[in-house]
Structure formats: structure tokens, C-alpha cells
Symmetry: D2
Subunit: 329 residues, 4 copies
Amino acid sequence: MFNIALFGCGRIGKVHAVNIAANPETQIRAVIDPYQEGAMQLADQYGADVMTVDEAMSDPDIHAVCICSATDTHADLIELAAKAGKAIFCEKPIDLSLARVRTCLEVVEASGVPFLVGFNRRYDPQFRTLKDLFESGAIGKAETLVITSRDPSPPPVDYVKVSGGIFRDMSVHDLDMARFIMGEDPVSVSAHGSCLVDPEIGEAGDIDSAVIVLHFPSGAMANIINSRRSGYGYDQRIELHGSKGMLKAGNVREHLVEHWGEEDCSSAKPQYFFLERYEKAYIAEWQHFVDVLEGKVEPQCSGYDGEQALVLAEAALESLNAQNTVKLG
Amino acid sequence: MFNIALFGCGRIGKVHAVNIAANPETQIRAVIDPYQEGAMQLADQYGADVMTVDEAMSDPDIHAVCICSATDTHADLIELAAKAGKAIFCEKPIDLSLARVRTCLEVVEASGVPFLVGFNRRYDPQFRTLKDLFESGAIGKAETLVITSRDPSPPPVDYVKVSGGIFRDMSVHDLDMARFIMGEDPVSVSAHGSCLVDPEIGEAGDIDSAVIVLHFPSGAMANIINSRRSGYGYDQRIELHGSKGMLKAGNVREHLVEHWGEEDCSSAKPQYFFLERYEKAYIAEWQHFVDVLEGKVEPQCSGYDGEQALVLAEAALESLNAQNTVKLG
Amino acid sequence: MFNIALFGCGRIGKVHAVNIAANPETQIRAVIDPYQEGAMQLADQYGADVMTVDEAMSDPDIHAVCICSATDTHADLIELAAKAGKAIFCEKPIDLSLARVRTCLEVVEASGVPFLVGFNRRYDPQFRTLKDLFESGAIGKAETLVITSRDPSPPPVDYVKVSGGIFRDMSVHDLDMARFIMGEDPVSVSAHGSCLVDPEIGEAGDIDSAVIVLHFPSGAMANIINSRRSGYGYDQRIELHGSKGMLKAGNVREHLVEHWGEEDCSSAKPQYFFLERYEKAYIAEWQHFVDVLEGKVEPQCSGYDGEQALVLAEAALESLNAQNTVKLG
Amino acid sequence: MFNIALFGCGRIGKVHAVNIAANPETQIRAVIDPYQEGAMQLADQYGADVMTVDEAMSDPDIHAVCICSATDTHADLIELAAKAGKAIFCEKPIDLSLARVRTCLEVVEASGVPFLVGFNRRYDPQFRTLKDLFESGAIGKAETLVITSRDPSPPPVDYVKVSGGIFRDMSVHDLDMARFIMGEDPVSVSAHGSCLVDPEIGEAGDIDSAVIVLHFPSGAMANIINSRRSGYGYDQRIELHGSKGMLKAGNVREHLVEHWGEEDCSSAKPQYFFLERYEKAYIAEWQHFVDVLEGKVEPQCSGYDGEQALVLAEAALESLNAQNTVKLG
């Protein structure tokens, strides 16, 4: 049984809390959050203690940390945990600054602790099946990857302002997915965007609609289509077109009941947002971290992966601003 | 080029008129209908003459008849045409009375003229594909056939009163389809029904909702589900379940555009009714009759087929009334 | 926290064990099974004790029993538990003999203990959504219900011999579902069947393919299509046709990835069997039992429901043998 | 009845010949093709005369020309027809050189003859339904258009060499479709591509896989995904994402029969290529030309449209070579 210190008890912290508790190999030992009331509630619920950062990092009973706190605390907590010899699971991103990511990763590497970056979609059963079928040769060599990724509705502008922008905040998942599916690092990034959903997002210096094109060393391309608003739920689809055919992973609908009526035939919308759509992915992700803790496997999403996703997001921003293709590497 | 005498210029007569004219091997030579104005209009449109029954039957230039007149005239016209040596295409049914069907078929047989009964669904490209795949062994031996057949909305009660009842008028198509797909004559019929759609149909002594179960000599069963009203268009589906899997022929939708919106994801309804859904079937049916005229093939839907469909419809009615399974043969 | 005595640790006992343990309101206190090794293993896994029937029934710490033992022990265990004042969850069926079911239910009623019969499909999220939409008026008044229910492959003949036959063993689920969806008790049953899948099933006096037609007081009909073999997984579909349209609950597929290739476009098969397809239903069923234990709700599947499903299964058998419609009530 | 001179009796000429003959308002009066045998055969089949270009242009009985000849003859024939006062239907493109297109259009404009450019996909019932639904407000304001367009297999390299390259030859249809759906002229083009399908295409200086991003004055974007090879038929899909939802036009499959078997559930592939998929579009296109001839409507695809599609194709090529976004207008 591994004892986990959970940093941050907001929305995503609670998702991980459920999975940590439900996993037979892990339990929550400590909850750490500047918002004391929230920390106490979560600690109570799972029979854990509320601790300070220092207490948790120095507690020899704690085997691993699960970092779900505010983005700007990630890198510091990672370094503290690494120095304290704790295994680390950290929600994406490591940091919004690439320079900070790199100094942080040096500390992690020096420490030798297991480190898993939380790109949850890698564990989605649909996308995993697509990747497995591709790797088994079902469609030959990859040619074009198309990732459609639309949020149901835009976040508050206050969030947008501290989010690092659509590429670092939202597209970063799709950029990671492109690397994950293709098994290659892109050689160039070309990004296009508009502010169509909410003019306040534009006034905050960001865009809300984007198209990104990646080139890979093999010549294959990836095409990412993003929007901060779908109008019909969380639109999460992948098409991988290869030399012998295509694989398509569609949306997961709220239910499978069709209604045939006078107007039309209707089906349920896609599941509303990431908590619903990626519920199984979060469980599988935590199980993977347990397998890492047990020394059975290497982390499937390393510090390098976390860094590369940010490299691509920054290149996308540079490309958007320059209206130019940006070369990498 | 075969010259055709078209009997009846109502809705179904006009469907055949279009196809006769469009087929490079046939043209309409004569139009016969007690409703003179309709006959003249159709004749004008296709460069044909309006004739009396006698004129058409005795015209040596006429090679074949296409009988689309009122049901109670079919058997007489078939006999006249047979005696006149004309090849015969006759819309279903031959007659609503089985005795009359049998005397009529004797005349046809004695004459030796080609005779094709118009069960249009046999030529539907979807159902034909299903049958072809079944016969190619795609699902092994047939076990259960499920035919769903719902009209978009009930006919006027005045029509219901002269229709011969739901089994002779509507289910007869599905009973023929069951024989066509299975390639066997059933050994028993069990019919169930209710009047749920329109109480006036019940007052007219008929039902509007039916379930029929057929047993075949092989042990296989067919299950027909009928309603005079769907609420969403013409529901025409077939499922054939066999020893190695299933074949399903779905509805043809009005179009293929999906709308994903705040409420749901909607698709188009099935095509409205038989004129839309079986447009291609009517063309293929006429082409088949042309192939018969040219001596290339035997009629795929013979007098015997027309008789058997009525035998099954009558057995269904007997079963419904007796609340009992009716054995055949 | 309710302490549960689990009777039977076979396949279905293990399903419930997982759900009892995962539910925050219940824990396994005792495991009872004549097969001691299995009981010990399960007890170990969940920190429970192995007990005899008497020990469990007389232990005041045990609040409820979960009966998953062999069918022929159900009625006896129900009676013992009722007399001991334990709340009862019992897997279907109560017994294969209607007479025994009735004496057993009298004991339950006299005791006043909460009693829930385990027809798992009532809790399937797809079918529940269909029922909810129907009850909200989405398709008006019910007219025809079509339940397709095919097992992936036939059970061993040894099982068939003690199963009570296809109607009591397999169709009983669909008969219960028909009552559940329609909210009425049928007035007649007509059953049809063949032995097509495995001749040994026929030699054992049973059939493996069935079509059942039910009539309801409202005039509505239900049409159940069963087979012991699908060839493609667990085929569990419901169509409810009403006065204003149709609701369809389709199969749950193994995954949502499509492969488009040179031969065809392929999708995943339905989930293999009941453990996969009804995983969520079993969880929801147990949660419902917890709600019953907490006095929040009445059991949604009562002793009467268990009895009626068997009444219909027996009527189906009588109808099959007599080749006749059997009236009820 | 309008008499048509048909220039070119290759594959596409034959498609139009069928539609000209089937339309009640048009007939083929002359067939012109340097390949005399082909011209004679087609003329024979439709009761037309074989003519030279001069004969056809100077024949006062000929009301309109249908230009289906080799691409490099289009502009000259258009000019001759315009000067001869014939109405003109010309297969795309007007010419591969933008300069030539412009001089040609000046001649057409000076002549005042009706002129329709043959972008067949504008008449596809699926895409037309999508456009109609969009214009009726079904999804609010357009935000992102995604056009997937993949040929089943690459053309011979000899064809590639004279085709003008993938953008002028293939993407030009999608560029036109983007303008047609959005109802705006793009302000910038960014094109990306690789040679992945056939190395000989690369050696010929062309690419076979492309991604194009267009920006429109409204801020909306269009994303075109092209490949010279699908592996599964002609992949022709459109997704239009707007402020209130999405419209999707899917592929038309060869048939609607599903096979559920031990391996998977399979459906038919998309129709093979443009002759099958756009059969109805070609018929509707010709009917539109007839409506133009009758003075009922203005051409829905004008010389300006033909020119703009080429402007975009050339900009795409420039963008690909410069690895840069190209601004327009």
C-alpha cells in the first residue's frame, strides 16, 4: 500500500482523490492546500491528515505525491518532492515557462525519483485502442492525423488571462496526443487562429479557435482543430489516415438511446466535458502510476514528454504571431 | 423495343410510366383507364394512344401489359392478356380471393405467356444486397428473420374497408419478403394484432398493428412487425440472424447530414413512403421485366409467388381470429 | 454501514462482492458457500468471515443477505433470512417452481423484511434512459415493444438440463423487461421456438431459438426474440414504438474505434456477455438495494415481479407445447 | 428543347451525355472530338452528328456547348463559343494559367452569353442540404469548416505531370467548396504537404497529401485535408462548426447492409469514386444549366468562381513553396 500526499483539492484534485482511494494499492495519507477548509473536508472524507508542504515532504511514511495544485506551484512542488525522494505524479503542465520546466526537470533527473506527467488522454480507452490498432499494422504507415478537440463552452476570461493562452492551456493536450499517436517529434509547427467565440478573450490577447498543422520527420502531418466552444458538449475525436486505410475514434455519447420522431432521428450528445469523457482515463492513468510505483513499468509520459508538449505550444504561438511556419530541432 | 399497354394511371401507374419511358427497350403504346382525362394526359405525355381494354388486347403491336388498375380488375385483365398472348406485368395482388387467384393462374399457365407479379421490394438494392450476402454464406444457415415494416401514417378508412385487411394489403409484402429471403415456404403462421392507431380502423373490422410469426421447414422462424403508423416515415428494415452472425438492412434516410446541437445530435428521418424508398426498386423491377420479355431470365416473382403470399395472408387472418397457430401445406 | 452475508461465491457472487465492497455504505461480513476453499478466498479478500448458513442467519451484526447461491437453494435461504429478520437481495429466480415461489413469498410477506429480486437489466443505464424518455412522453402511448436478446454462445448441455428451459432461464429476463417497460401485466402469451443452434439442446428437451408475443390490457404488444447464440457477442436491444415515434436502445460496443479499409468499414462488436454489458447495471442495482436498506425507497423489483416473470415463462412453455396462445389472469 | 454540342467524349463527356439525353429539355445535336471513333460512337448512340469545332460553332441550331475536352482546349473553346453566341457549360478548370483564365473571361463577359463552370460538388444533395441548413441558421455563425477529400487511389504519374499539380487538379474542388459554403472569399491561404503515397509523384515535382488552411474576412477558418489515396474509396466529407453547433455531411456508402460477425461489425465502404458519389450531383448540375438556358436563374458557379478557385490553388502552391501564409486581395 502506497501512501500518497495530495497537493490541491480543487476539481481535478478530487478526481484523483476518488481514484487513489479506490485503487487497492494506494491511500491518501495527507492533503495539502492553502484553502484549509477544503483540505480538511477532503482529509476527513478519506481518513487522511491535513499537512503543510514541509510536513508532507518530510514525512517518511509518504511514498508519493500527487500534484493537483495551482499551475504556478507545480515546478516548486516537483523539485521539493524530488529532493525528498518522493515519487511524483504531476498534473500538466510542469510550468508555463519552458525555461522553468527545464531547470525543474534537471532536479528531477538528478534525484532519480519516478516522475509521471498527467496527460490524461493518453489513457483514454478509445484513443488507446486506436493507437494499439495502428501499431498492430491495421492501416499501414501513418499519413495524416486529424485531432478534433472542442470544449463545450469557453472558460471565464479571468481564467483565460492566467492560462498561458489557448495553445499552452488547451492545445497542449492535442499536441501531446499527436506525439503520442505518431511516435515522433514534429519538425515544424504552423498555427492559425481567430477570436470568434468571445470578444473578451480577444481583448485579453488570446484566441478561441485554432487550427494547427504539424510536420513529422516521416513526412506525415497532424492537423489539430480547436475551439473553446462546441455548442454540443466535449468534442474529442481522432482520425488517423494511413497507407492502407483509416482509424476513427468517435465521441462517447451520454447514452445510446435514439429517438425517431416527426422532426428527425436524434441521439444523445457527446459527454459534457473532461470529467465525464475521461473518467476511465483518469482511473487508468492512476493505475499506471501505481505500476510505476511498483517498479513494473517506466512512466509512459515522462518529463521529456511534458517539456515537448510545451515546446510545441510555444512554437504554435510563435507561428501564429509570425504568420509563418516554425521549424523545430 | 417493346410496346407496352399501361392499364391504370393512378399513383402507381405513373411510377411505372416513368420507368417504361426511361428504359431504352420499352415505350408506352397505349394507356387504358376508365378515368378518361387521366388516361389522355398520360398518353399525351408519353406519345401513346388512349385505348379501350379490347383495343389494347387485340392490338398486335402491343407486346406486353402493365396492369396498375384497381385491384378488383387485375384477375380479369390478366386473363384477357394471357388469352391475347401478351406478356404480363401485374401489380400485386392478383386478387384478394384465393379461389379467384387460382382460376386466373390456370388461364395464365395454359397461355404460356410470361407473367411477373409486382412485389417491388424484391428489387430493393438494400434487401437484394442482404439476400446476396446471405446466399454467399456470410452468416451461415438462417435462423431468425425479423422484418420491421411500418407505414408513415394510416390510410383513409374508406381505403381500409376495400383493402382486404392489413394482412392482405400490407403484410402481404412482408410475407412475400420472408419467402424471398428464406427461399422456403412456411409450414405455419401465427398472427397477433391490435387496433391502436385509429379506432375507426377497428370499427371497420380491421387491425392496424400486427406481429406475425412464421415457421419454416428448416426450423427457422420469421418475425414480422407491422404498423399502419410510424410517426417518422416509412420504416423498412430487415434483420437476418444466422448460425455465424447477422445481416441488417437499415432504413434509407432522406439525407446524410447530421446536426449536432445543444439538445441532441439529429439525423434525417427515413424516406417518407414507398414512392421514395422503393424508387430504385421499381426501376430494377421494370428492368427485370424487360429481361423477361427478352427471354434472358425467368420471372423472379411468379404466379405461384403471388398465390403463396395470399395464402399466408389468409392464414394470418385465420390465426388472428382463432388465436391459434395455423398449419399450412 | 450495513454488514452483508454473501451466499455463494461463484461468478455472480464475485460480481456482487466487488460492488458490496466498493459501495461506501456496505461491507461483506460473512461468506457462505459449501465450496469452502472458494468461501475462504473471498472472505480473505474482503476481510470477512466464513460462516455456516445458521451462523450467518443468527448473527445479529448481519443486516442483510445477498443470495447468489445455486438456484435450488434460493427459496430456502430467502425463508431463513426472512425469519431471521434480514433484508434480502436475491439473484433471480426465486425458484423454478411457481408453487414454491408462492409459499416462499408468503413467508417473506409475513416477515415484513425488505426484499429485492435481482433482475439486473432494470438498472442498465441504456434501458433506464429508454424507460425514462418513454415515461416523459417522448413517443406518446406505447404500441409495440421489440426486445432482441441473444447470448453469445450456448451454455453446456449439462447446464441446460437443470436450467428450467430457455423460457425460465433466459427469456425470463426479457419477460421481466417487457413488464418493466410497459408498466402492465400481459393478458396473453404466445411462444414459438426451434432447436437450431445445438441438437443436444433439443435432445435435452429444450429449444435454443424463440419468439414470444405478449398482449397487454392496453392492446399494446411485446415481441421478444431470443437465441442461445449470436455469433457476435451479447445482443441486447430494445425498440419501443409508440403513437408519436420510436425509442431504440442499441448495443454497447467493445470500443468506439472504426476501421475503414479495403474490404469494408468495421466497428467493434457488442460487449461479450452480461458481466461486461451489465457491469454498470449491477453497480446501480446494489446502490438501489442500499437505498432500500436505508429506507429511502421501496424495492423496484419485488417478490411479485419475481413471481410474474416466472408466470410468464411458464405460460410461454405451455404455449409452445400447445402451439396456442395462453391467456392469463 | 435545347440542342447541345458536346465537346469531348471521354469519361466525363459520357457522364454529361447521359444527363443531356435524359433531361426532357435538352438533346445532343453534335459531338466533337479529335478521336473520331469515340465521337462517332457517342453520336450514334444519341442520334447526333459528328462535327468539327467550326461546324458546331457556326451551326445556328446549336444553342449551347458542353465542354468536356482536354483541359488545355477549354479556354479556346469557351472563347469560340462565346463569340458564336452559344451558352456555355464548361468542365472545370477554365485553364491552368490564371492569366489565360482572365483573358478568356473577358471574352465571355463581352459576349454576354450564359456561362456555367462545372464544379460538380456544389450540386451534391448532401452538401447542398448542409449549406441549406447552415443558411437557415441551424448552427448560427460559421466558425470552422473542415473538408475531407481523399481520392481512392492516385492517378498515373503521366497524368500527374500534366495535371497542374494537386492544388490545381484536386484541391481546387475543395477550395471552391469552401467559398461556396462560407459565402466569402478567403483573405489568406496556408498550404502544407508531403509526398507519402507514391514517390514518383514526388519525383514529378508534386505532392500527394495536403493540408490547407484558409482565413476568411469574418475570422472563420476552413481546413482542407487531401490525399491522393484513401485505401477505402472516395472520402468526401464536410463538417461545418458554428456558434450554435455543427453540421456534418458524411460519405455515401455503397449500400446500407451491416454484417455482424465473429470479428467485428462491418458496413459498406464509401462509394468508389466521383462517378458514383456525384452521379446525382451531375444530374442536378445539368438541370441547373437548363434552368440557366431557360433564363430562370443566374449561373450558380460563374466565371468569377472558376477564377477564384484557381487563385486559391495558385496561392496554395506559393504557400507550400514558401512555407508561409500567403495573403490575398
